[in-house]
């Protein structure tokens, strides 16, 4: 069975149709990249899959392990294994990264019928994960995303992903606002999570990220539709030629 299936998905915001029939199939272990110019629905797609309010799905299906994702609340989707790495992670003043992680982790464990993680075990786990990601351990003592640099915010997203071990991870423009060093660190983190039973949907505007997170498939999104699909070479082609020709065909 496919891990995540998006079938003929239509969605609109405030009455305006943004997604006009998207179909994607993510097999376990695969990495799919979604590329496209600004304003074509890339972020809408990730928000609709994650269950953000304000989007109306007018047609189509999203299935995770064959289960109807659209029937679930946002938090249920997350506990079922859908993770969204945000383009703009929000600040949560007064809540340490550590407290946030622990709350999220325990929410997932409770849903799975597991006991809550005890404090010592948790700290051990975070220590190990931050070390793998090459992150300073002290970062978890700071309020989540408050005063974080762009790189730190994205690293915090990857840390959360590492802790929560999702089935499907959606990376929404994770490369935006990152310098090359931060990009490498973040990509290494993502790559370390690649596994045969997990799938990634990497949304990006630029090919650059895909030098580090090498996709199995590349899809071009334009005007709310997938207008081209191919292997990783498609990304390079886009880098050389730009999106113009797809915009024209879609129009």
């Amino acid at each position: 069975m496919s891990l995540l299936e998006v079938k003929n998905l239509h969605a609109s915001v405030a009455g305006k149709e943004i997604l006009k029939g998207i179909t994607l199939t993510l097999e376990p272990g695969s990495v799919h990249a979604i590329m496209g110019p600004n304003g074509t629905g890339k972020s809408t797609l990730s928000n609709v899959i994650a269950g953000r309010e304000g989007y109306e799905v007018t047609k189509g299906e999203v299935l995770l392990d064959g289960k109807d994702v659209l029937a679930m609340e946002a938090d249920e989707r997350a506990r079922a294994g859908i993770f969204l790495a945000f383009q703009y992670p929000v600040e949560i003043p007064g809540v340490t990264t550590s407290a946030f992680l622990k709350t999220a982790l325990n929410a997932k464990r409770r849903a799975a019928g597991q006991p809550e993680i005890d404090a010592m075990e948790f700290l051990k786990l975070v220590k190990a994960k931050t070390a793998v990601l090459g992150m300073p351990y002290d970062m978890i003592k700071r309020a989540l995303n408050v005063g974080f640099s762009g790189g730190e915010k994205k690293r915090a997203e990857v840390l959360q992903m590492t802790m929560l071990e999702p089935r499907v991870a959606i990376l929404d423009e994770t490369d935006s606002g990152l310098d090359i060093d931060a990009l490498k660190v973040v990509s290494e983190g993502v790559n370390s999570l690649r596994s045969p039973d997990r799938a990634f949907l990497v949304i990006t505007h630029y090919q650059r990220l895909l030098d580090y997170i090498v996709p199995d498939y590349v899809h071009v999104l334009a005007n709310g539709r997938v207008v081209a699909s191919g292997g990783k070479e498609l990304a390079l082609q886009l880098e050389a030629e730009g999106y113009a020709k797809y915009l024209n065909t879609a129009a």
Binding site: A78, R79, G94
Partner: protein, 483 residues
């Protein structure tokens, strides 16, 4: 027969004269309403010294002159209270319940969420318990230890018998009988409360808690607390309970007085979770409290921390009179109002001595149709050279039908004194909520986490044992406030 009847009538007359109603001193009940006779009855029941009765009567007579001066300046709306409709001594108790099975399941759910042990649940819910508590024996052991160190910690009625000179010296010295409508009423009719005296130079090694008195009689709605920290001593006192408490009395008017002498420090922490009323605000407690501390000695310090989540009406301004040179007053407050609750709370920092410092951190959270007002006064007296105040008032709104108000009063009569005031108002954003949901948290969990973060600065000043429960309480108080 005629003679006997006459004698009986005469005796009745005498008794009526004495107490205004037919009863005897052995009775546990006094009729409804307030009169000098009721006050005499309360005082006699407690075998109080004559001066105490006189003071009560003085307060009562003064209170009568205040009949038209019930404070109306707070941003609170409630029907006029009929003071003659209350019991001022030994209100009739509800029947004890036979077991927890008879308790409102919603209440039990809350206890469970707070992680309150079963025996305590039974006590709080008013279930008759005949087992001997471990906590009681533990408390007794501690009490003995404290006694050996010279700490006096007992009900104020007992202190009036055993240490009348201390009570007489300090009672009413911070909150005089003429202070305000509710405090004056309390002076006249208070039934019990705590008395604490920490001897010179002693750092009280444990948190003193009203919890120690949990097995003792309900002190009723007019509680009176007096805490004295002698020179160079330190004490941390915890009042209240995170568990929702059942109470038959709607009106509460407590008075707390703190006195810190030279180099002494008092830390007073409160968690108030009286019944807030139903979703429409019906049946909740009216809480009119006067709390004030006097930093009487040089370098003394008083720190108030309060977490106010209960009551339908909260009227409360724990204050510091910074009399001693270089004394310090601090006020940390979290006030949460949900549904139809109303809170008008804050502090007064009265700087009298040189080099006095004060800090005010107030976090108001408003949800539902609730109103939450911070009202605070910072006054710099003419002799308060170099005094400093820092005030920070943050309000958080949940939903669009609630209100947050900040009313700071700053009066400075000394050009060398400085005051700083910062205020913010914010809302829990949809982005923050979605972010938390996307990490698998339930809506209520997310709100609790965000609000706890907002209050962190205050909650972390609570003693450890209180802080954990308070965090949970913050979440529980806001249940149903979103979505």
């Amino acid at each position: 027969m005629v003679a006997t009847r006459e004698t009986a009538a005469a005796v009745r007359d005498v008794e009526q004269y004495k107490y205004g109603f037919v009863t005897d001193i052995e009775s546990d009940k006094a009729p409804k309403g307030l009169s000098e006779d009721i006050i005499r009855f309360i005082s006699a029941k407690k075998n109080e010294p004559e001066w105490m009765l006189e003071w009560r009567l003085k307060a009562y007579r003064y209170w009568l002159t205040l009949a038209d001066e019930e404070p109306t300046w707070a941003k609170l709306h409630f029907p006029k209270i009929d003071y003659q409709a209350s019991y001022y001594y030994a209100a009739p108790k509800r029947e004890k319940l036979a077991s927890l099975d008879e308790v409102d399941p919603k209440l039990l759910e809350t206890y469970k969420k707070l992680g309150i042990p079963l025996l305590e649940q039974q006590m709080l819910a008013g279930v008759a318990v005949d087992a001997v508590f471990d906590s009681v024996s533990v408390a007794t052991t501690y009490k003995k230890k404290l006694e050996e160190m010279g700490v006096i910690f007992m009900p104020i009625s007992e202190a009036l018998q055993k240490h009348p000179e201390l009570v007489k010296k300090y009672l009413g010295s911070v909150v005089p009988y003429s202070d305000n409508f509710y405090a004056t009423l309390n002076c006249a009719v208070f039934t019990d409360g705590s008395f604490v005296y920490i001897p010179k130079g002693l750092r009280c090694p444990m948190e003193l808690s009203t919890y120690f008195r949990i097995n003792e009689k309900n002190t009723g709605q007019f509680e009176r607390t007096l805490i004295i920290a002698d020179e160079g001593s330190y004490v941390s006192y915890l009042e209240g309970c995170t568990a929702p408490q059942r109470d038959e009395n709607q009106l509460h008017a407590a008075v707390v007085e703190l006195i810190a002498l030279d180099d002494a420090e008092i830390k007073y922490s409160t968690v108030q979770n009286w019944y807030p009323g139903d979703a429409d605000g019906k049946g909740g407690i009216f809480n009119f409290v006067t709390k004030r501390g006097a930093c009487r000695g040089k370098n003394s310090k008083i720190m108030w921390t309060q977490v106010e989540t209960g009551s339908s009406i909260t009227w409360k301004y724990p204050s510091c009179i910074l009399q001693g040179d270089n004394s310090v007053g601090e006020f940390y407050s979290v006030a949460i109002t949900n549904n139809r609750q109303q809170a008008d709370t804050g502090t007064k920092m009265i700087h009298l001595g040189k080099g006095t410092r004060s800090k005010i951190i107030s976090k108001g959270i408003s949800a539902g149709r609730a109103d939450n007002t911070y009202r605070g006064l910072v006054r710099m007296g003419p002799k308060a050279d170099g005094a400093r105040n820092y005030t920070q008032c943050d309000s958080l709104l949940i939903g669009d039908k609630c209100g947050a108000h900040t009313v700071p009063y700053i009066e400075s009569r000394n050009p060398t004194a400085t005051t700083e005031h910062e205020a913010t108002t914010s809302k829990i954003s949809d982005d923050q909520l979605f972010y938390c949901l996307q990490r698998g948290m339930k809506q209520e969990e997310a709100v609790s986490l965000i609000v706890n973060g907002f209050c962190k600065e205050v909650l972390q000043t609570l003693p450890m044992e209180f802080a954990v429960e308070a965090q949970k309480l913050v979440g529980i108080s806001l249940e149903g406030s979103v979505g």
